[in-house]
Amino acid sequence: MTIPRFWREIPIRYNLMGSKCPLCGTVFFPPKEICKICRRVSIDQMIHEKLSGRGTILTHTTVHEAPTDFESQVPYYLAIIELDEGPSVLGQIADCTNGDLAIGKRVHSVFRRVSEDGVSGTIHYGYKFVLDHSR
């Protein structure tokens, strides 16, 4: 069991809040203070932008050997998703079985319990993704 960590207080993890560089138009998630393409000239220029949570599976895996906090969830499904606004994120795909996943399938984000520190420890919430056409 651990004490709560700093990111529990960071809203972007729950809201999919990114940032956009007004100079080159690149969208970042998590939000960046400076654009890694435009660098110096982008300081103080970055605009916060809420992401739609919609995207496409670039690749995926089924995890069988997990870290301690995730051992009870095995097997679970991870994917890298290219969001419609540009940036890619890693997340779990929920409410599916192994055969449902494929590169190119469309997904959208949902708010879920991600893990917990032991039976009486802190519960960690965040986004997961579900297939657009499941159930």
Partner: protein, 388 residues
Amino acid sequence: MREVAILGTGITRFREIWDKSFKRLGIEAGLEAIQDSGIQGKNIDALFIGNMASGLFIRQEHIASLVAEEVGLTLNNTPAIRVEGGDAAGGLALAQGFSAVAAGIYDVVVVGGAEKMSDLPGASIVETIASSIDQEWECFFGATQPSLWAMMARRHMHDYGTKREQIAKIAVKNHNNGSLNPKAQFPFKVTLENVLSAPPVCEPLTTLEAAPISDGAAAVVLCSLEKAREYTSEPVVIKGVGLATDSLALHDRMSLTTCKVTSVAAERALNMAGVNIKDIDVAEVHDSFTISELMAMEDLGFVEKGKGGEAVDDGITKLGGDIPINTSGGLKARGNPLGATGIAQAVEIYHQLKGKADSRQVADARFGLTHNMGGSGGTAVIHVMEAV
């Protein structure tokens, strides 16, 4: 800048070693290297140690002082420096030792790499290995190092038609090589059937495609080429060093099927050495997973992007092939004590270039290359070596 030579090497056997401490492993490898090189303790100007996670594995930081004390280097208060960069720690330590000698700051340095992984339960080891990927945006969601490589494998198969069997054959090849290496953790062969039918780690990869949990240490003695000639008529020279860094998180990188750190670091090291990749006779690459070696074959430039699978089928990376890779058995069969790996790779190439690799010997090896990587591709270190 001065030319830098490797004067001697030492390595422990890699395996789960229950009766030896971190300190003991480091000393064994270090003393073997010092004896092999012919130098004396009083000649050592500095000690560099590559180590990834001693704080998490054995709850000990400040290990440079710990090891220096045990080998008697505290008598002269010899500088000892730990270097960390995920599982590229060993290669980075070698690069730091090289730079210090090349710059003329020190004449003789010992560079060691060590890791003691087996003192934790299995799931905690998975977590500790995952400390070299992004905690906040990967591990938080249940990602582990194998899960990231599995996703790269899946995408490689999708984009280039790479076959599952082609990827798995790399484990068979590395076990064949390991069976010829008395220091290997797994000195035995496996069949393609064994690899494919082993339990899955993260689909599509199986447990027989992942480097094992290992304890172990390796060390090399570096000195200026000029000084090396006082000790040997056939020194091995580090001709080129290339380092590169990319985003820590896999999803932040430009490609899921290329490790750009590898191609960039290779270009830097080869340019510095004035050597073409086609001139390399033998290479040790970072096969933390079978797919890692397949992608490294392409990213280093041994084969075109997307042709790695075919090249495996053609057997070009086997002993006796055009470019033998991981003659030691690689991370897969020799073992992968994280911080020790980059140094173990240099030890193997040193033996190959000296003609001392016994039944694993690559005939007339003149140029060798080591490729050490951190995490899922956040860091890469390449060394190009030549027997002169």
